[in-house]
Symmetry: C2
Subunit: 280 residues, 2 copies
């Protein structure tokens, strides 16, 4: 599936937004700011920020209203990549074809760049201009902080680090995917809806949509990576066909939650499909 035009068109906006919230590389300490920017620019697919914007649009608001959440989720995602790559974690020397942050800047700066990006996420969510009210920003802050916390993203990473390939089953893999990956994708969707002032029952539907789409997105990653070596891969546990089938099943679940939202949810539907059926 090709990158939807909606998605492609919004990436420069996300880049400008992130540029506006992270101090310039010339700002002191310069090594720290260069390290923070190293994974952030040019960055990856920017899936999470565009999901937040498309969700605001799906519930009848302008996509710009979700910009504080769009920046915040990308900053949390980037921090988690830097810490995941550390020698004491996955010990990855490369990220997106370039040296990972601890290789390029040293381990201490990598830990600290991640820390600063996590703090910057909450500053962005509280500060970036938007028509969202203070109460709506506060709801989104609760959602994001919970998604980034010990019961979700961080807890998922802890469990991922000690997966025993001999005993892990599909349910255990999905539990880790759910916390390590899907929680932040769910927060992107839920936070976008909250900033847009969506009704509580709509937020609940979008929460289920975001979670199912998030797990499916991570399974699609397992399929694209082949996932034979990774102990925490659904491809290793149930084979490529089984994993693909499970991702499609979750995609149906995710899309069903959007049924009542009409035409204005079309960009969000396309993004959710792209997240699961992309080819890179």
């Amino acid at each position: 599936m090709d990158v939807p035009a909606y998605f492609r068109d919004r990436i420069p906006l996300v880049d400008r937004l992130l540029e506006s919230v992270i101090p310039a590389a010339s700002e002191r300490p310069t090594a720290l700011h260069a390290a923070m920017r190293h994974v952030l620019f040019p960055g990856g697919k920017r899936l999470r920020p565009v999901l937040a914007m498309a969700t605001a649009e799906a519930v009848g608001a302008s996509p710009e209203r979700a910009l504080p959440m769009a920046a915040a989720v990308e900053l949390v995602h980037t921090y988690s990549l830097i810490h995941d790559d550390l020698p004491c974690m996955d010990d990855d020397d490369e990220r997106r074809g370039v040296p990972s942050v601890h290789i390029a800047f040293g381990e201490a700066t990598a830990v600290l760049a991640g820390d600063a990006l996590l703090a910057a996420a909450f500053e962005a969510l509280a500060s970036i201009e938007s028509e969202a009210t203070a109460a709506q920003r506060l709801s989104a802050t609760r959602e994001l902080a919970h998604a980034a916390g010990s019961l979700q993203l961080v807890g998922g990473q802890v469990d991922d680090l000690c997966v025993d390939p001999a005993v892990v089953d599909a349910a255990a893999v999905e539990s880790i995917h759910g916390r390590k990956s899907a929680a932040l994708i769910r927060a992107s969707v839920v936070g976008g809806a909250q900033l847009a002032g969506a009704a509580p029952d709509t937020v609940e539907r979008l929460k289920r949509c975001g979670f199912a789409a998030g797990v499916a997105f991570q399974i699609a990653d397992d399929v694209l990576d082949e996932g034979e070596d990774d102990p925490c891969s659904l491809v290793r546990v149930m084979g490529r066909a089984g994993a693909q089938h499970r991702a499609e099943e979750l995609l149906v679940t995710a899309l069903r939650e959007l049924d009542d939202l009409g035409d204005k949810a079309e960009p969000l539907r396309q993004l959710v499909q792209f997240a699961v059926r992309r080819e890179t």
Copy 2:
């Protein structure tokens, strides 16, 4: 100077509050939650949370109104201690007489426990019950996130790691103290005032008070530690008497900003004096 009664009486309240926001050690992943609790309980002086409460009282609100900030600043402080102790940073095997988190739980869990505590700080600030409005919480969130970010706490730690003892002078030491230590103490005071609904000019005065008190607190630390070996110590740079004199000078500056606040600021005045003149 003895611990002021105001201070001592509020520590159990802070402990109960922190207990209520961090998942039980029995909650999975159990190693992660045990690691998060390892430095948090019994904890240190709880200076930052009690400062937030005393500041709310100083501007005419109940100290309980500042509880979201009280919890948040202690969680940020605790995360920073865990990451500072890491082998790639200060490489400290002990903290408050017990093994540091990476010694007790391993390096990956220490990095992740710090990360989760930082996220938990923002969840606490957005969630803990208080009469503060959403707009007041949002102001406090901006203040805390900025204090924890690359231009303050994290930037100060980066510079502290590469201090050159041959060239560092008093101004450079104070710049690091200002960002690494004083910014979070200032945020405790400012956030307490913001949650209490203080007027903007009062917040500005408290900002200057908190910063001066924060630098003086860190110099007092240098004096208590003797500070001969630490390259970033005012005692090493200007001698014990000079450092003590500078701390007293900053204490006068901090207290002067509280002159107009009357009797209700008496607990805050006592705390600020204790922070600088304490004997442990």
